[in-house]
């Protein structure tokens, strides 16, 4: 227990930063993913092409490399100083956006063609077809896989540790390299693992709840 109570300050920073990266990255991923997902189902071929290129390129790049580009590469462009954590948030947001886009696209695809056809057949304009027929159904099938994306995002925040961003996975270095703080590497890491498992399980629980609540009877 000394590992925790002897280093409360560090644990606070670490958990705070992990949550910051999680929510910040999640917000960027949602906005960017919505744009890219919309591009991928848009009637404009060029927009579809750009969306597809973005998704394919980023998805086939390791997250570590995306971090490498943003956190280490950005300063090389001489655009003024930026906080490491902010750069990390952008990196993880850009990476996760591709998954969000794919989930949204798959969600719209799960709505049977007949639904859109029926809506159009009774004379609804495009706006109403989308807002009252397609999107509500798509939303329901999107929620569970979207939660999975966020669970993955939470686990991915650990990668920031490799780029000196002070979050949970970095905690071992912060505690052990200082020399005079209690706790062996093993203890610190086991606690960190426990924290992550607890957070992931919590998200899974929410996911299961939502999945049951939003299930569509087809």
């Amino acid at each position: 227990m000394d590992v925790i109570f002897g280093n409360l300050d560090l644990w606070g920073t670490a958990i705070g930063n992990t949550l910051l990266v999680f929510f910040g990255g999640g917000a960027i991923a949602l906005v960017l993913g919505l744009i890219v997902g919309a591009m991928r189902v848009s009637p404009v071929p060029i927009a579809r092409g750009v969306g597809t290129a973005y998704v394919n390129l980023i998805r086939n790049t390791p997250l570590t490399l995306v971090f490498f580009f943003f956190v280490l590469g950005y300063p090389a462009l001489g655009l003024g100083r930026m906080n490491l954590t902010v750069l990390g948030i952008i990196a993880i947001g850009v990476y996760t956006a591709t998954y969000v886009a794919e989930v949204l696209r798959a969600g719209i695809n799960t709505v049977p063609v007949g639904q859109a056809e029926a809506a159009r057949a009774i004379g609804l304009p495009f706006g109403q077809v989308m807002t009252s027929v397609i999107l509500p159904q798509a939303f329901r099938s999107v929620v569970p896989p979207m939660m999975s994306v966020f669970i993955a995002l939470l686990k991915n925040t650990t990668v920031a540790a490799g780029f000196s961003i002070a979050e949970l996975a970095q905690l071992r270095a912060a505690i052990n390299d200082s020399g005079d703080r209690p706790g062996s590497p093993m203890e610190v890491l086991l606690w960190v693992a426990a924290v992550f498992v607890a957070m992931v399980m919590l998200l899974s629980l929410v996911q299961n709840r939502l999945e049951k609540k939003w299930r569509i009877a087809r």
Binding site: M39, V41, S42, P43, V44, P45, A47, V50, N56, L57, R59, N60, T61, P62, L63, T64, L65, F68, F69, A76, L77, G78, Y99, V103, R105, A106, N109, T110, V111, A116, E117, R120, F126, V129, M130, I134, R140, S141, P145, S148, V149, A152, K155, N156, T158, V159, A161, G162, A169, R172, S184, P185, M186, E187, L189, F196, V197, V200, I216, R218
Partner: protein, 308 residues
């Protein structure tokens, strides 16, 4: 494409609007790319000095060696996680409570733990209890345990989505449990889930790049080393582009295989000789899971669940 579902055939007005949108897209993308390239130019990222590093054959020998390290970790991790995946899946499907419950707990635990934390536990953690572990094994074991648990879920989902009649028919012709599993359920489940399994291997490939954080000398580690080369003006972005290109090509090949398998399975089981057991399309579209409908492919949905 979904365009036909969501949109009517465009009339003259819609065609005009689409053209405007197309031009707008081009302008925005060109502006972003242009700005980045302009900054690259201003900070001298295109100079021969910075790219000069990659004209030496010894550098490429180093890259090949690092590529070998990446592939060595990936290969062992891929095979290992498949084996572990099958073992855990069979354990989770067991009829015996005392097998099923602990195996389920282990699978859930390792699926919830970030791979990097597991690598760190093995590499930084174990020495404090007196076990010294090579970075290579830390990377490989962490990847095996994590991806094995994910694959176990995938395989189990494959088995459980099979029609119940398959199992009953197996028992009816007098097979034992092992026979039903080995001869009837597993082949069908694996066939149906093959695209997901390959997609998970793409994830495994990408995750080998985490090894750089615990000093395993793979491709990205090499890129970091190149980027501190003063003689060539610290070519950080240049080495990231070269190494990134290599990763993208490798993952593209694997993703391509996954897509190919998926399309083949969706187009039915022609020419495989087991038309009677055709389950490809049936599984993809039917199933109790509301997420699995045509269009929203199993691979997309499950690979998303799988994580990274």
């Amino acid at each position: 494409m979904t365009a036909s579902v969501l949109y009517d055939v465009p009339g003259p007005k819609a065609i005009r609007r689409n053209r405007v949108l197309a031009v707008l897209t081009i302008v925005v993308v060109a502006a972003i790319l242009g700005f980045v390239l302009y900054r690259f130019y201003l900070t001298g990222q295109f100079t021969a000095q910075k790219w000069g590093l990659f004209t030496y054959s010894t550098i490429w020998e180093q890259i090949l060696a690092a590529l070998g390290k990446t592939l060595a970790a990936f290969g062992v991790a891929a095979v290992g996680s498949l084996v572990v995946g099958f073992v855990l899946a069979i354990g989770r499907l067991s009829d015996h409570r005392w097998v099923r419950v602990p195996v389920t707990a282990v699978t859930e635990l390792f699926r919830a733990m970030p791979v990097l934390i597991m690598m760190m536990l093995l590499y930084y953690g174990l020495p404090s209890v007196g076990v010294k572990m090579d970075p290579y094994w830390a990377v490989v074991i962490a990847l095996i345990v994590y991806n094995g648990s994910v694959l176990a879920e995938v395989i189990r989902a494959g088995v459980e989505s099979l029609p119940r009649g398959q199992k009953e028919a197996g028992y009816a012709i007098g097979l034992r449990k092992s026979g039903v599993m080995r001869l009837i359920l597993m082949p069908q489940a694996v066939r149906a889930m093959l695209p997901v399994i390959v997609s998970q291997l793409v994830v495994t490939m990408k995750d080998t790049a985490l090894g750089f954080i615990i000093t395993y000398p793979e491709l990205l580690y090499l890129a970091k080393q190149f980027s501190s080369n003063v003689q060539f003006g610290r070519p950080l972005l240049q080495s990231a582009f070269v190494i990134g290109g290599i990763y993208i090509v490798m993952c593209f090949i694997l993703s391509g295989i996954a897509h190919y398998l998926e399309r083949r399975l969706r187009s039915g089981s022609r020419g495989t000789g087991d038309a009677g057991l055709s389950i490809g399309p049936g599984l993809v579209q039917g199933g109790p899971d509301p997420r699995m409908h045509e269009g929203g492919t199993v691979t997309e949905v499950l690979s998303v669940q799988g994580g990274r």
